[in-house]
């Protein structure tokens, strides 16, 4: 929205008035009111006002429709002129929703559903002139939702997408992939849900293509949501290549995708907050992973983002206990792909005793069994990822490793500003040993790779984290036998469960 600044008068505001227009109580932004005799207030202080009925003879702006359809956006996120927006509202095509709702026990954010008191704050607001303009800190990365900012939604006709979305992908599916792909495609157009339980390296992205193509050509709106930014970055170019004629956008924290009309969205689960009843098909990748399984408001966002008639597809290599149970009981339809794309079994982790590694680190030393492995690794010409329990351990371990080997060593963690560069230079072989925290465990594929976990007994490593970590190794056909080593000071339950899990999947694959 553009606001024309009346040079240095200082009375540009974000306040609203309610007044009677053609016998209807109507919300009007203060700056559009010509009459000087009004009492403007922050949006949340207006009493609830009935939406205007749809005026079928109104010529609506298609551009605005495509930007706003299926979303909840702040005025600042909409490029249209405020007059145009207001016209659409008065004709029943756009709705102003309060950004924050006052509840009995405090505030609730209408975008992210946050209700936690410590995630609200207030400031003296230049826009609404309130001394205490309350705002939500939980979803601030998408722009501030505050007491004075309405969230806009589209209430006019739905967007129609074109139906020429031929898929350009011509690859072949494994037998396991084929079964899952057919099943998924069959469900397109229905309501319901399905779990695809695929081992790491099964090639689940290709499994989605046929179903996505069918959905696109039926004019459905699709979202692929994943908990991790890395995965968005990896998937976006692959999907764009597979569907060159389709309008595709990707959203992640820090992406500056312009609001545009797209049919296929690739998004981090956090960015789902933007959408409102938007998707007919929602694919939730790594459904077991933090933060989707963790954050209740995120599950709310998923619910919020889907159209009333929708299909939910879950993807996971390591479904949670409750999901597995639901699948077993037949409450949740499930297809398994127990075999990797290349047909070889998953590498089974080997446990290596490394003594009291914490004590040794304190003395500036690495466990001897670990050093022995490092030396042979460095001369093997292969790459290795070394997973560690925390960022501080990561820095110490990386420094100590450098004393023992000649090859290039580096480390990377979630908030590393050079993360992308480092992962790239590991991928293309400039870095041989990459020390990392658990955050890179998913979605990264590197050939000729071995994997080690340093301090595997640390509580932070869960069964599913271990399965994912192990799944990094042996992904290509030429190198299906990657090594997986867990260096530990006493086996943990998660370690044992992860090994059983992997063996179980391998057994199923032979059947």
């Amino acid at each position: 929205m553009k606001i024309a600044f009346s040079n240095n008068t200082g009375d540009d505001t974000m306040r609203f008035v309610s007044l009677f227009l053609n016998n209807r109580l109507t919300v009007v932004p203060e700056i559009l009111v010509k009459d000087g005799d009004v009492n403007p207030v922050p949006f949340s202080e207006l009493s609830e006002i009935e939406p205007h009925p749809l005026n079928p003879s109104f010529h609506y702006d298609q551009n605005l429709q495509q930007i706003l359809y299926g979303k909840m956006l702040l005025l600042d996120e909409i490029p249209s002129d405020l007059h145009i927006i207001q016209d659409h509202y008065e004709n029943g095509y756009v709705r102003y929703n309060p950004g924050l709702l006052k509840k009995k026990y405090g505030w609730q954010c209408s975008r992210c559903q946050n209700e936690k008191e410590h995630l609200f704050a207030s400031f003296s607001c230049f826009r609404c002139k309130s001394e205490k303009c309350v705002y939500c800190r939980n979803c601030i990365m998408m722009g501030r939702v505050s007491m004075c900012t309405p969230l806009l939604s589209w209430t006019g006709p739905e967007v129609r997408y074109r139906n020429k979305n031929e898929m350009a992908w011509r690859g072949e599916l494994s037998a396991g992939q084929q079964v899952a792909s057919d099943r998924f495609a069959q469900e397109i157009g229905n309501s319901g849900e399905l779990l695809i339980w695929a081992v790491c390296g099964a090639g689940k992205t290709e499994v989605l293509f046929k179903g996505i193509e069918k959905a696109l050509n039926m004019g459905l709106r699709i979202c692929l949501a994943t908990p991790r930014t890395d995965v968005v970055l990896e998937l976006a170019p692959r999907l764009k290549k597979a569907f060159p004629k389709t309008l595709i956008a990707s959203y992640y924290g820090g992406s500056d995708e312009k609001e545009s009309p797209v049919q296929l969205v690739i998004s981090t689960t956090h960015q789902l907050y933007r959408f409102k009843q938007a998707f007919n098909l929602l694919i939730v990748d790594e459904v077991d992973a933090f933060p989707y399984s963790y954050d209740k408001t995120l599950q709310q966002a998923v619910k919020n983002a889907v159209h009333s008639k929708h299909f939910l597809l879950y993807l996971s290599a390591t479904p949670s206990g409750s999901m597995k149970k639901a699948a077993k009981k037949g409450q949740l339809p499930c297809v398994k792909i127990p075999k990797r794309f290349h047909g070889f079994p998953l590498p089974v982790p080997t446990f290596v005793w490394s003594g009291e590694w914490r004590k040794r680190l304190e003395r500036g030393k690495l466990p001897s069994s670990f050093v022995k492995w490092l030396k042979s690794q460095a001369t093997s010409g292969r790459r290795a990822m070394i997973f560690v329990p925390s960022v501080s351990i990561m820095e110490i371990v990386a420094k100590l490793i450098q004393k023992h080997v000649e090859v290039k060593v580096d480390f990377v963690h979630a908030e590393d500003p050079l993360r992308k560069e480092k992962v790239d230079s590991f991928r293309n072989g400039h870095i041989s040993l990459l020390v990392t925290t658990t955050i890179l465990e998913r979605g990264v594929t590197v050939p000729n790779l071995d994997v080690a976990v340093f301090g595997a007994d640390a509580a932070i490593f869960s069964e599913s984290a271990f399965v994912q970590i192990s799944g990094r190794a042996g992904r290509s056909k030429e190198d299906h036998n990657g090594q997986v080593l867990f260096f530990h000071y006493g086996k943990s339950l998660s370690m044992v469960r992860a090994v059983n899990h992997i063996k179980e999947m391998n057994k199923e694959a032979v059947r």
């Binding site: 606001i3 600044f5 240095n8 200082g10 540009d12 974000m14 600042d76 410590h118 995630l119 704050a121 400031f123 003296s124 607001c125 230049f126 826009r127 303009c133 705002y135 800190r137 939980n138 601030i140 990365m141 722009g143 501030r144 505050s146 960022v391 908030e415 500003p417």
Partner: protein, 236 residues
Amino acid sequence: MSYCYYCHQAYSETWSWALFLGLANFPLLCQTCAGKLQLIKGDICRMCGRLFSLFPEQYRQGDFCNDCIRWEQDEEWKGILQQNRSLYVYNDFLKEVIAKLKYRGDAEVMKAFHSVARSSFKSIYKNAVLVPIPLSDERHYERGFNQAELLALGLGRPVELLLKRTVHEEKQSKKTRRERMERKGNPFEVMNPSNIVKENIVLIDDVYTTGSTLRSAAKVLLDTGAKTVSSLTLGR
């Protein structure tokens, strides 16, 4: 329970007790976040307050850094700013923090620094008038608040909004350093000149980068009768 003002993580009791008792001079952040900040302490440029240990010896002459020597050799800018002091090194983490505050509009982040700024700077500004660097109306509307004002308000001294920015920020940041040093049109204006005669003024801003913003503001204040002008910022 205390929550980190930056990442919302709840932080441990011992850490928050230390804060509560005033035993340590910490920002209100969890240990992980606080650990990524670097307090400016030790050998600094007497003029701009930057840490000498962060750059090579040849960029320094005695107690001053080369940038400050260049400012002080310039006839127009000589002696305009008495000194600047900053709390933290403007490293990647502080950049992220300030970006969240300014570009995402999370005003609350500034509260993390109020107590630490107060205790570190009290002796510097005890008899001075605090004046935050203003934003243009356009920028102020966009953001909803002025981060410099938020910092100033937490220092526990009267804050005077004496300055007005008449030129939009963007037009300034596109200029080269040379252009900025030679600038004729000052973007600032003093609103109540009578209020500042013979006063010692301390300007407040989020970061000191080139020093030209603070010097421009100092210049209009001195021209309208201020006695001295120095500055305090969060990052340097």
